[in-house]
């Protein structure tokens, strides 16, 4: 068990979750106090030592499922699930529940062989799915998940595909949208019928669900469908573990932590996770910067002061004096492309920069697509930068002609309206993929800015390999920048912004 734990901790670290030695030891100690067969308890109590940030929990859960998943012949990919018996840790309960379900009896003898488990006809399975969701019976939902993976997952031993492929196949065949409609329709009819019974007066109360009732009902069914989905995911994972072993599997389906997700290619769910992790991330950065400013940061040696004070010690410089670091904080000007492909990246950057605005003497923000607008005002007096960023989406005036990025036009307008205000204390931060739809580049503006400002940086959320391909002209701008930085994840972004302050 301790070996298993060591492997598990190794996996967590590989996934980016920092686990110290003392935390590892605490986890080992935990195993002495919590019954091993209670997997849920083990998950939460181990988590108490191993995960100390809630945004890391999903990655932890995935790894946990892989390392502590149910094992046994029952989860073999190719096997029919009728002949299982030797599950570890609590697995038997699930199987007991399953055996009382309809449609299971006639299965033996059918469809033995390679692909495995064509136990139920599609109609039987659809019916069971509907009933499971209608009754919200968890063991029935588990059984459906299991059957569905058998029937539709098409899992093959030794095939090196990830779990999402099987998940997608299974879900597509179940057609859950249609099931949802059927469930709601059924509820409507039931209400109608009930109302008819109750209403003696034919002009009585309406016989349909109110919008509120319907909404609550849908959310309820959605919750059950989400549960089913989770069960299917677990089922697939268990079989993959049985096929490939924990370590190999963990590596191939490792989920990046929110701070390591590629912002430009994030899925919708990942974007939600990203947004959630932004606040703690920026707070952490603020703490780090405040500490850096307070301690350390000694200026260069002040020779004259040192000599002067050494006079009292007979000329021996026992107490070297340092020039006080110049207290001036940089002034930041952010100019961000917020067109579709890079919008999330721009939002995250604006959020982060404003969240630590106390580290700068001033922060001004501009956003553009083909038009450009100053959005600094949205952040004034707002506690939560997320709120301001939200307003930018709806209120900023950034479309000039057609709403496709036009860096040249946006930069030119910037220069005309605000160019004067750039001064030697300004650090200018340009954000975007520099995909200019073959418009004029306006790179002379960057050259002018460079001449006035302290620094000019360009943050590009695209992988370096794509730079200057197609309509990307980042190379042309790079000529006039101090540096062009590849910035694809929150971690990279945090590091860059941290160095800026």
């Amino acid at each position: 068990m301790l070996d298993l734990l060591t492997g598990f901790v190794g996996e967590l670290r590989a996934a980016g979750i920092p686990v110290s030695l003392s935390e590892h030891l605490d986890a080992a100690e935990t195993l002495r106090h919590v019954p091993l067969e209670d997997r849920e308890a083990i998950k939460y109590t181990l988590g108490a030592s191993l995960v100390k940030s809630s945004t890391h929990w999903p990655a932890y859960e995935t790894a946990f499922e892989i390392y502590f998943s149910l094992r046994g012949p029952g989860y073999a990919i190719a096997g029919d699930d009728e002949d299982e018996d030797g599950d570890e840790a609590g697995g038997s309960e699930k199987d007991d529940d399953g055996s009382s379900l309809p449609g299971k009896g006639g299965r033996k003898g059918k469809g033995q062989g390679g692909g495995g488990g064509e136990g139920m006809t599609p109609e039987e399975l659809a019916d069971m799915l509907y009933k499971a969701l209608l009754s919200a019976n968890s063991s029935m939902i588990q059984a459906v998940a299991r059957q569905a993976v058998n029937r539709y997952g098409g899992m093959e031993a030794g095939r090196p595909v990830g779990g999402t492929y099987y998940l997608y196949r299974t879900l597509r065949n179940l057609d859950l949208d249609k099931v949802m409609d059927r469930l709601v329709e059924q509820a409507r009819k039931a209400t109608g019928a009930a109302n008819e019974d109750a209403a003696h007066d034919p002009a009585g109360p309406e016989v349909t669900l109110t919008p509120l009732e319907e909404r609550l009902l849908r959310d309820e069914y959605q919750a059950r469908i989400d549960q089913l989905r989770k069960e299917i995911e677990s089922e697939i994972r268990r079989r993959l573990v049985a096929d490939r072993g924990s370590e190999a599997l963990a590596k191939s389906i490792r989920k990046p932590l929110p701070e390591d997700i590629d912002v430009m290619h994030a899925t919708k769910d990942e974007l939600v996770a990203l947004r959630k992790s932004l606040a703690p991330l920026s707070r952490k950065l603020a703490v780090r910067l405040a500490r850096k400013r307070r301690h350390g940061r000694k200026g260069p040696l002040d020779f004259r002061a040192t000599v002067r004070s050494s006079l009292s010690t007979g000329g021996v410089p026992v107490d070297p004096k340092f020039r006080y670091p110049r207290p001036s904080k940089p002034e930041i000007i952010v100019i961000a492309d917020i067109s579709g492909s890079v919008a999330s990246f721009a939002r995250f950057t604006l959020h982060l920069v404003h969240a630590i605005s106390s580290q700068f003497s001033k922060v001004r923000s501009f956003v553009f697509i083909d038009g450009i607008d100053e959005v600094t005002r949205f952040f004034d007096g707002v506690d939560d930068p997320a709120e301001a960023v939200h307003r930018i989406n709806t209120e900023a005036d950034v479309v000039w002609v057609d709403g496709h990025s036009d860096y040249g036009h946006a930069l030119t307008v910037f220069w005309e309206r605000w160019g004067e205000e750039i001064n030697p204390r300004s650090s200018v931060l340009l954000l975007g993929d520099a995909r200019n739809n073959y418009h004029a580049s306006g790179s002379w503006v960057i050259k002018e800015i460079r001449a006035r400002a302290r620094h000019v940086y360009w943050l590009n959320p695209e992988p370096r390999a794509y730079w200057d391909s197609g309509d990307s002209i980042v190379g042309e701008y790079a000529n006039y920048c101090d540096e062009v930085v590849e910035c694809r994840t929150l971690r990279q972004l945090e590091r860059f912004v941290g160095e800026l302050a």
Binding site: D26, H33, T210, L216, E220, V287
Partner: protein
Amino acid sequence: MTSNQTEATGVSTGRTEEITSGFPEAGPPRFDSIDAVRTGLAGVDYLADDGISGVVYLADRLAKPVLVEGPAGTGKTELAKSVARLTGSRLIRLQCYEGLDESKALYEWNYKKQLLRIQADSGQSWDELEDDIFSEEFLLTRPLLEAIKSPDPVVLLIDEVDRVELETEALLLEILSEYQVSIPELGTVRAKQIPLVFLTSNNTRELSEALKRRCLYLHIDYPQLERERAIIETRVPGISQALADQVARIVRSIRSLDLKKAPSVSETLDWARTLVVLGVESIDAEQAKDTLHILLKYRSDIDRASKELAGLDTSG
């Protein structure tokens, strides 16, 4: 629930042996099992889930503090209070705020009294006098020291620890890992019994790694439907099961919207109480609209929820 019937409840209350040196020995475990924690807490009207009861159980077994994080109003503070009630312990609370320092958290010398003592010169030598005025008699005990010195079982609640400055966190470290307080003039005071310690944080600031390493971590999120329903039923007198269920469902749906501030458990309870006072038996769209301001604090959130949930426009 403050009885001593360990056998019946699986929860032991009180332990009294004196330990004076070395790491204080953990007394007999307070809880027999994770389930005993859950049912015990339910007995004092606190509804715990697997995570909460598991971590509380473990904290006792490993003699480690628990750092509880989560959104506002999800029962972090209440958890510490409930555990104190369950175990029949005294609750000692250190409410954190910006500017909290040693003299408010740990101890302070009673200068006035020391001064009086010096003035009432009894012909002692200075050395004797010094020993005298830096003795326990002149010590003002603050919550952390008090928790350590207490001969009786204690639950120590360090509430909203994210409000103190990063530097002040250092004051806590010795207590959290050694259960002792060093007083330069007096020596080291060790705990007579290991208190159960809860630290809560609203996550407004990132806590130091040093602090986190010393603690078990518990994230309390908004409760799942069933648990919230049970919380409503226990905490709102006179509510019908049907109404509690409806309240919990509506709140769940509202939380799934993209809002500035999702309703907390305390707001859910306030809303449920209001509905009971108004004599509502089953919530319809109009009633929901008229009372949503109890659940949601921002105008834009109220408009949004009314529209999404009931197809109602409240912005006019």
